[in-house]
Subunit: 121 residues, 2 copies
Amino acid sequence: MRHASFDGAGGCYIEAALEVIADKWKGVILYHLLDEPKRFNELKRSFPELSHRILTRQLRELENDGVISRKIYPEIPPKVEYSLTDLGRLLKPTLLSLEGWGVKYVETTRYLRNCQLDKAE
Amino acid sequence: MRHASFDGAGGCYIEAALEVIADKWKGVILYHLLDEPKRFNELKRSFPELSHRILTRQLRELENDGVISRKIYPEIPPKVEYSLTDLGRLLKPTLLSLEGWGVKYVETTRYLRNCQLDKAE
DNA sequence: TGAACTAGTAACACTTGTGTTACTGGCGCA
DNA sequence: TGCGCCAGTAACACAAGTGTTACTAGTTCA
């Protein structure tokens, strides 16, 4: 499903961006990394519903896409820290913009839902 | 996979926003509607790889989410026009921000790809 | 001694999303 | 008469994404 190339026609860059951040957990993972690096289990604790395995994969994909970097401390027990790369940090305004719209969306649909309830009664 | 509710904790609003716009074609469809309403087949012609059926479904879902509206002109042959709702128009800065980051992402990864080629040679 | 911590990997099942094909009906045109 | 236009729907196949379970190794703590 990945595009091999992007010529920028017709909003292709939007597709490119969404391919990177739009998987189920990636947006939220990036959001949690916006301000500070986090360790693997630190992230895992942030998302109790997210399994070990899936977190690993999402992190690995984000790493391959160049938006986060993985730093391994050669300690026992192992310590691995995930942080945004320069490219990842550029996502901050975009993510905040998404969040802002998300608030409006949730408010609006909640309103619409209430309206439908009103009609139903 | 849809969330029933969003309490806003930990970037949940980002998830909410992504659930609306992040399906394969939705970002691009919205992008094409940013400036003017479009007819069904007009959109279809913009995406030759996108099948009739899929376009219908993506449009229907966007409509259910309240970001686009569907206006039927009772003519023969039928005319159906899709345009952004108020909520949809609020997405404009977000989509442009995504596009901007997409450009940087594509440039960066192209650069990285070149580097790997350099190494391989 | 055995459990829990760290950060993983491998094999598999399940769910969702995407796409294909064939069909609808009223009209214009050759 | 038969084709294409318009905007769809229905039934189905297939690919991708998500999630579950069981496993790894070295260390610390009870």
